[in-house]
Symmetry: C2
Subunit: 299 residues, 2 copies
């Protein structure tokens, strides 16, 4: 079970797929309100319960993890602040060593959370090949950081969108949710993430209604690459404007090639640039979004 | 673990809360692509795995349930068609007895799925009080069906929205997601469901960006009723148009009072009327949405 909120909840989505793909572990994303609002006490004896939080100070995440520990679960905190309440509540701590997050919106802490969860996955899968693959991640992230110019060109289109559907399949569900969340928080753009599978059986109606811009997240080497390329063509044929992240095609925002289970760590970076440039194009300061606070204080 | 897609996935959200509140069971919502796309085989021995599907014909739901059964899980199919592939793949079948769903969009099968999952919850919780409470559901649904006129009045506002945030807390997360999905499918309106807790720490930026209509789902007697009433006032103070489902206030769409764990079965009905009337106000035929198909054929 993974307990998280906001950006960290997208890291939890990543963990669900990474642990499923590499270690066959079924993963539940906790609903913290079950503990805080309804006072239930999940039967988590025998489970591994991982709390993920940048600050380690979200009260409902701390309370859910503490309740799981009382119930006999093995608890682990993935935190940036190893002296935070979440770290103190957990039996084990994995610090992400990301340093102070100077912007309000979490960015480097998100990629660092994914990396810590990938390390945990590799350990649980007892995989040496996994460790070797992890060593290729820093170079890929460095290349992904060089995408500001193409992101700025895509942002000119995205800034004029009325709303945006961010589409992905499988493990990049996490990437799509994180880009959509940041587009809302920093660029004030109504963006929603979908599984491309779910999107085609209902919400695709929005494309026909008009005014939809889609962003298809399809980094190189993905198991659903062909399916996503077909969806891109289908949406364009229906008149939707479609931006792409990943495929080697003219006008696409490039993403580096990595083993698919590690690809979300690098592929979100061009998406983060896209959000920055979309916010700027809409006259907003992405470093100081109005009204957001760093610590989620929900009980 | 619950396996589902689309509308049935919102029934799965309901099951996560109902089984958590009443039986303290931790519930994972399966990611079917782990099995179909990545060929992983979740370690589900000892687990109860419930497949939920109106048609019982979604290939990835069938495949995920079959793989769980091969792994030693106890499998149950909640289906409308007891001779469907999902029913055949499961060890046990709970038929929802809803009769033919004559519209393309699932409505009565959604409420019937929730009712079957509430019965399963009561059985697992070994609760006689739960059975007594269930007997009050049909009367509540009958009262909820009498809300077409107020729904038509609210729909006049909603039809003009650029996008809509459907907000709820706790178990009505399912209600919010189901109303948002139907607004997209049938009314072509960009609507997204949020936990009110998550919404306040990020996406609320959309209210400041303008053009947002919020629908707050807050049926009588909920544990978060006061928090949701405060959020309603806060959003209105920021200039957002806010519709409400539940609270006894002038202009609110009424929802009947029920024990909270059963309330989603009746509370979605005024929301379904709201979707019908919003579609009509936007010149669409909610009975025959363009381009939707009944069976989700994703692999």
């Amino acid at each position: 079970m993974v307990v998280a909120r906001g950006t960290s909840d997208n890291a939890a989505r990543y963990a669900q797929y990474a642990l499923g793909m590499r270690a066959n572990l079924p993963v539940a994303l906790a609903a913290p309100s079950l503990v805080t609002l309804y006072k239930s006490s999940p039967l988590t004896r025998g489970a591994l319960v991982v709390g993920v939080s940048q600050s380690g100070r979200s009260p409902d995440v701390v309370e859910t993890l503490a309740e799981a520990r009382r119930r006999g679960a093995l608890t682990v905190a993935v935190v940036n602040d190893a002296s935070s309440p979440l770290a103190r509540a957990a039996a084990e701590v994995i610090p992400i060593h990301a340093g102070e997050e100077r912007s309000v919106a979490a960015t480097k802490t998100y990629t660092a959370q994914l990396t810590a969860l990938a390390l945990l996955t590799t350990a649980l899968a007892r995989s040496r090949a996994g460790l070797a693959a992890l060593r290729r991640v820093p170079g890929a992230v460095a290349r992904a950081l060089e995408t500001r110019d193409p992101a700025e060109r895509q942002a000119r289109h995205l800034a004029r969108a009325r709303h945006c559907a961010v589409l992905a399949r499988g493990i990049h569900h996490a990437t799509a949710h994180e880009i959509a969340l940041k587009l809302k928080e920093l660029a004030g753009l109504a963006a929603e993430a979908y599984s491309s599978a779910d999107f085609q059986h209902g919400p695709i109606a929005l494309a026909r209604a008009g005014g939809l811009t889609a962003l298809v997240v399809n980094p190189p080497g993905g198991a659903a690459a062909r399916e996503l390329a077909l969806l891109t063509r289908k949406l364009r044929a229906q008149g939707a404007r479609v931006l792409t992240l990943g495929p080697r095609a003219a006008g696409s925002l490039p993403a580096p090639r990595l083993d698919e289970w590690l690809s979300p760590i690098a592929a979100v970076v061009p998406g983060q640039w896209l959000v920055v440039e979309t916010a700027v194009a809409r006259g907003l300061d992405p470093g100081r979004p109005k009204g957001l606070v760093k610590i989620t204080e929900t009980r």
